[in-house]
């Protein structure tokens, strides 16, 4: 199942919801040097620039399991609940999510403006 795409060239991940755009170095479920750790979805990954350790990974986002659009992991743009949902799809199917999530979504200011 592993689909490793090493990308030394400029591969850029862009969130369709908030427009966050940043280069990624790997796409898949098993970023390099993660040993026993496996991702439960195929993710856009980069090296964590905020960690002193060079080998830490950082998940930028992934594709919505329903609509397939790229969404960042920011809580305004997507959520993970056994699989990835972009906030548009979450809002469309809100009633199927557990109450805890429903109330969480309700607290958020309604969808933010997309790409500037």
């Amino acid at each position: 199942m592993e689909q490793e795409v090493y990308a030394p060239q400029q591969n850029t991940f862009t969130c369709v919801l908030c427009g966050l755009s940043t280069p990624f170095t790997y796409f898949g479920q098993k970023p390099p040097n993660t040993r026993a750790i496996v991702l439960l979805e195929e993710c856009f990954v980069t090296r964590d620039p905020f960690s002193p350790d060079k080998e830490r990974f950082l998940v930028l986002g992934s594709k919505c399991s329903l609509c397939g659009s790229c969404a960042c992991v920011g809580s305004d743009c997507s959520l993970f609940y056994t699989t990835r949902f972009c906030m548009r799809c979450v809002n469309k199917n809100l009633e199927q999510f557990p109450a805890a999530i429903q109330s969480e979504v309700a607290k958020k200011p309604t969808s933010k403006p997309a790409v500037p």
């Binding site: 940043t22 026993a36 060079k54 959520l79 009633e95």
Partner: protein, 1146 residues
């Protein structure tokens, strides 16, 4: 549901049991796992684990653990079933899993053992869950930072112009981007260009520190995606590699690169930032780039500036397009509060603090203390700052509402750093600063600005050859810049302590540096870049022709330019060294002798700010601790001692050096700068073939090397950790403690001690400087070098002094003849161009001036009182800087023996007929009591200088001709050099002639020379054939060497007068004859002891082929009129030959 059981079991197992944790570590955090046991992250995990378990327990107790099955099942007809689990579990929100199947399986087999110590399935599951949450937490944390970073970038005013900028750069060779502080141009423009496909970008900065911080910032903002692709290059330090696409560098360095590579082929895009600051290098760089553009049509040039005088730059580059970006400034209210006449200080008085105090009071009255906002007060200089600081401190102590902090470049870095700390609630910072806070240092949170309207600026007085620090009114541009500092984080207020009419009368812009400073280095660089006559170069704002002329004259005096204004060989080497001319000269001279190590240290020490903190000078403890470091030979020797002692401490105690420095009132940062600089100087000399490369390490040391490698890896890790946390923690200032800090009472040292006990202080855990130091330098190697220059023998010391003195020449000062009758604090000195200067209080000679005086018992009063005392112990001061502030001060002085130093370094030595009277450089007069001794001294000086010059040129010829391949001292034998230095030492230390030394009066200098001799006395067939002696067209007399003119002084007698001849026996060849002084010198210069002859001849011959020298050749063609024959003879032989004829005539 078995939540009860769960809770029980969770409660029952002991989270803190180390054994238990160790076993869990074996499962999750093994040696090769993502997180390893023992790493900082591992520690973080267990801390997280504790919190997590406590949280879960609490949740369970409140029954909040699991929401009841959701109502999701209902009312979803016709809709897609997402198939989500019915029961909510936070676990489902984590997109990570940890596979430890293999380990657990192994564990299962030995289940018993684990059960007994408490680790079972339950515990493993708990730990796994916590681990997943930990990973998720970390991801969120980092992603949050990333998102914030991107948000901030988008919020910058310049973001809107992103595409416009890229388009303009694509279409035009030159683009001007003008934007005020805070618009983000320096960090963003390079990134916009990078991400739109430009590469090989260089961005220049006026300050080194900005290069480093910008490279860090841009590399960080681009998530290190470019890794090594963003770097910086500053003097002697580079992070640039093959892969570098963007590098930040200083203007000076880019100029150096143009020197090496005139088409600058290595770059595609050049960004010149802060062009409005009009630094010397920047103005020059713009001129060079302007002409470079014509031969590099593909090159893109972007000028970035504040919104000041933009037209000037655009016009200079054929009306280049301008993109103006609004800054992000909040509205600022300007209040003019001119200082009433009765409170205005006259030039000599202290500043009256009342106008400043009124502003503080006004703020306290008008603005409630819970409204935050600090005050930034601009004054002209350090003395002004301490006056106002003192007064404000009294007010602050009284009101408990202010913390007063000074800010200027001579403060210790710890002190400077304080201005970034946060004040406690209800208290404001009052930062009293020089113009350093106008552009170089940016402090957030400032709401009030007080502008005195004054600035102290360095200017160069070409007549006195002196730097001068003078107070001026600022320009309107500076006033606006200062005002702007109040509106960075919110609306602000700017109090101007001058009238609006004053403001209107200010100059629009500051005077560009090129109009204020000495242009020596600039002219030297222009010469070496082949830019032709500096006077015709198209500067954006040409300097006055007189400044250029002064520089040319100075460079000629320094031997960097010849009489036609062309580069000499030493000049072209100096032009390649990125240091001051005098420092460069020292390095080159030092490499010829065996004093390289100490010269490297001294050169580095003189190129950085002094490590001795001024404020610690009056602290008796510091003074005592410093005592052993002081050298009464001179300040450079004190610096040398200090550096060596520090290196020793570094070697023995490593991190303990910080404390060592603190006790002595030393700024360790300066020592770090010195050690870096020193290393770079060394590399520079090596790359120019002036220093042998060290032998590669022996193979047997492999183990040691590996050890060092492991250590380096650890250090690198420490450095990375530091880089990430740097600047993120700011300390909260305390009333009382911090408020008093930095007063000039010498409390710095104690204060720093107090503060460093504070655990919150960043850098307390890791001394990052120590880490960098260890990464960069081989301590044992340094120690060796320190040892080599620690106990200098008196011989080495005198050679070192000579090297310094020749490097610094013509910067010499003469002690006033009446100094012995004056108080220590009133000692006066004279330079050639400036009378009555004093020694700066930081100099060793300020506290110990006696060593400069002629010892009492040495003095032999001559009958003629006006000549002053006679002695063989007169001394001069060789100095690095002459700076006028309230008085003209000499600093960094070395004492040198007067007669010897002058004869060995001066450009002009004139004598009378018997050489008993000498005038040096037209201002110093020496009278030697015994003509015989005088002759001897003079003639040995002549031959030493000839040898020195010859060896130096040979050495330089080697380095310039062969460059890197040159293996050390190939052409010049070590033996010759040793002989020369032996000779110099003997001359310096053991010359025992008595003489008087004084400064000529203005009247005397007018009638100094005999002047050109009339034609009626043609000098046909000069008596001294070996010497290219020609009559001097101005002074008269005979020009014997480039620096020595014989018999030109007005009291000189007839050149041919036989009465000048006296009988003399040559100690070498035992020739006994009547000689004139000049004949005798000539003979001495060529006649060597029998054993030496061959050596010298061979050397002289080889030197003849390489360069034309002032040194006399040994043989020449001589036509004897009596024999009517052409003879090849040495001058002595010619002399003998002529005597023969004379004798036969009788």
């Amino acid at each position: 549901m078995d939540s009860d059981k769960r809770r029980d079991s969770r409660g029952s197992w002991d989270w803190d049991n180390p054994q238990c944790r160790a076993q869990l570590d074996e499962i999750f955090f093994r040696q090769h796992d993502y997180i390893q046991a023992g790493s900082p992250e591992h520690k973080d995990f267990w801390a997280f684990f504790d919190r997590f378990q406590r949280f879960r327990t609490k949740k369970d107790m409140h029954g909040l653990g699991h929401s009841k099955s959701s109502e999701t099942g209902e009312g979803k007809e016709g809709k897609l079933d997402l198939g989500l689990p019915k029961e909510y579990d936070a676990r489902y929100r984590i997109n990570v899993s940890v596979c430890t199947g293999d380990v657990e399986e192994r564990l299962g087999r030995s289940d018993h053992r684990h059960r007994s110590s408490g680790v079972g399935k339950e515990q493993i599951a708990d730990c796994r869950l916590a681990y997943l949450h930990f990973l998720d937490f970390r991801q969120r944390q980092s992603f949050g930072k990333l998102a914030k970073l991107r948000r901030d970038q988008k919020n910058l005013p310049i973001y809107q112009y992103r595409d416009r900028i890229v388009d303009l750069v694509r279409q035009h060779p030159v683009v001007v981007v003008a934007g005020d502080t805070g618009c983000g141009k320096s960090t963003q423009v390079p990134q916009y260009l990078l991400s739109s496909g430009f590469s090989q970008i260089a961005c220049t900065q006026p300050r080194r520190i900005a290069c480093i911080s910008l490279a860090k910032r841009v590399s960080f903002e681009s998530l290190n995606q470019y890794g090594s692709k963003v770097g910086y290059q500053i003097r002697f330090e580079t992070t640039r590699t093959e892969a570098t696409k963007l590098s930040f560098l200083t203007e000076g360095l880019l100029l150096r690169q143009i020197q090496q590579d005139p088409s600058l082929a290595q770059y595609q895009v050049l960004i010149v930032d802060e062009v409005h600051e009009r630094h010397l290098h920047c103005d020059f760089l713009l001129g060079v780039l302007r002409s470079l553009l014509s031969c590099r049509p593909d090159l893109r040039l972007i000028l970035m500036s504040a919104t000041i005088n933009i037209k000037l730059f655009s016009n200079y580059f054929a009306s280049a397009p301008v993109l103006q970006v609004p800054g992000r400034l909040f509205p600022i209210q300007v209040i003019y509060q001119p200082i009433p006449p009765e409170e205005q200080a006259s030039r000599l008085e202290k500043l009256d603090p009342r106008p400043y105090l009124r502003v503080l009071q006004g703020i306290d009255q008008r603005y409630p203390s819970e409204e935050r906002g600090d005050l930034l007060l601009f004054l002209s200089g350090v003395a002004e700052i301490s006056t106002i600081q003192e007064a404000c401190q009294v007010y602050a102590t009284h009101t408990q509402r202010w913390i007063v902090l000074p800010l200027h470049s001579t403060l210790s870095l710890v002190q400077q750093d304080k201005v970034f700390d946060i004040s406690p609630p209800g208290v404001r910072k009052c930062i009293i600063s020089t113009n350093i806070a106008e552009t170089s240092v940016t402090i957030d949170g400032v709401r009030f600005v007080v502008d005195s309207g004054k600035v102290k600026e360095m200017s160069f007085d070409p007549k006195a050859k002196m730097q001068r620090l003078q107070e001026f009114w600022i320009s309107r541009a500076s006033a606006e810049q200062r005002k702007g500092r109040a509106g960075r984080t919110g609306p602000g207020v700017c109090y101007r302590l001058y009238a609006e009419s004053d403001y209107d009368a200010f100059a629009p812009y500051p005077v560009p540096e090129i109009h204020r400073v000495a242009l020596d280095s600039l002219v030297l660089q222009m010469k070496s870049m082949g830019l032709g006559d500096p006077r015709s170069f198209v500067f954006i704002d040409p300097p006055p022709a007189s400044s250029i002329q002064t520089a040319v004259t100075y460079l000629r005096e320094q031997g960097a330019l010849d009489s036609r204004g062309e580069l000499t060989s030493i000049g072209s080497l100096l032009a390649q060294l990125p240091v001051d001319v005098v420092i460069g000269k020292m390095l080159v001279l030092g490499s010829v002798f065996n004093v390289v190590e100490p010269v490297l240290t001294v050169a580095a020490a003189l190129s950085v700010q002094s490590p001795f903190l001024r404020s610690a000078q009056h602290n008796p403890d510091c003074a005592t601790a410093r005592q052993p470091l002081l050298s009464n030979q001179g300040d450079p020797f004190t610096l040398l001692n200090t550096f060596n002692a520090w290196v020793e401490v570094k070697g023995e105690r490593g991190g303990g050096s910080r404390k060592w420095c603190r006790r002595r009132g030393l700024e360790e940062q300066r020592l770090y700068e010195m050690v870096n600089l020193r290393r770079q100087f060394k590399e520079l000399l090596k790359s120019h073939g002036l220093l042998e490369s060290a032998a590669p390490p022996a193979a047997g040391e492999r183990g040691q090397r590996r050890e060092r490698l492991t250590e380096r890896r650890k250090l690198h890790q420490l450095k990375r950790e530091h880089d990430l946390t740097e600047g993120s923690r700011r300390k909260v200032l305390r009333l009382g403690v911090d408020a008093e800090g930095g007063s000039d009472s010498g409390s710095d040292a104690e204060d720093a001690g107090k503060r460093s006990k504070d655990k919150n202080r960043p850098g307390q855990s890791t001394d990052i400087q120590e880490v960098k130091f260890k990464l960069r330098h081989n301590v044992s190697e340094l120690q060796e070098a320190a040892l080599a220059s620690q106990d200098l023998s008196s011989r080495q010391q005198s050679i070192l002094k000579l090297v310094l003195c020749r490097g610094l020449y013509p910067q010499l000062a003469l002690p006033d003849e009446h100094n012995s009758t004056r108080k220590d604090s009133e000692q006066v000195f004279h330079t050639r161009n400036k009378h009555s200067v004093v020694i700066h209080p930081t100099s060793v000679f300020a506290s110990d001036p006696e060593v400069l005086q002629v010892p009492e018992d040495e003095v032999r009063e001559l009958g003629a009182e006006r000549k002053g005392p006679e002695s063989s112990r007169h001394q001069l001061l060789s100095f690095v800087t002459l700076l006028e502030t309230n008085k003209p001060y000499l600093s960094n002085c070395v004492r040198v023996p007067a007669l010897q130093a002058l004869l060995l370094v001066a450009n002009s030595v004139d004598s009378n007929a018997d050489c008993s009277r000498l005038v040096v450089d037209g201002w110093l007069e020496l009278e030697l009591r015994e003509p015989d001794g005088a002759l001897k001294v003079l003639s040995s000086a002549l031959s030493l200088r000839a040898d020195w010059e010859r060896l130096l040129l040979a050495r330089l010829g080697q380095s310039l001709g062969q460059g890197q391949g040159a293996s050390g001292a190939g052409g010049v034998s070590r033996k010759e050099m040793d002989k020369l230095s032996e000779g110099l030492v003997r001359f310096l230390l053991y010359t025992e002639v008595s003489y008087s030394l004084r400064r000529l009066t203005a009247f005397q200098t007018q009638n100094l020379y005999v002047g050109p001799q009339p034609e009626s006395e043609p000098i046909k067939n000069p008596l001294f054939p070996g010497v290219e002696a020609k009559p001097d067209p101005i002074k008269g007399g005979l020009r014997v060497t480039t620096f020595f003119t014989y018999n030109c002084l007005a009291d000189s007698r007839d050149l041919y007068s036989e009465c000048l001849r006296t009988f003399w026996t040559c100690p070498n060849c035992e020739l006994y004859m009547p000689f004139t002084p000049l004949e005798r010198m000539q003979h001495e210069a060529t006649c060597r002891p029998p054993g030496e002859v061959q050596d010298t001849e061979a050397a002289a011959e080889s030197s003849m082929t390489t360069s034309s020298l002032s040194a006399p050749s040994l043989t020449r063609l001589y036509h004897c009129d009596v024999c009517d024959e052409d003879l090849t003879l040495t001058s002595t032989e010619i002399l003998k030959h002529k005597r023969q004829h004379m004798a036969s005539l009788k």
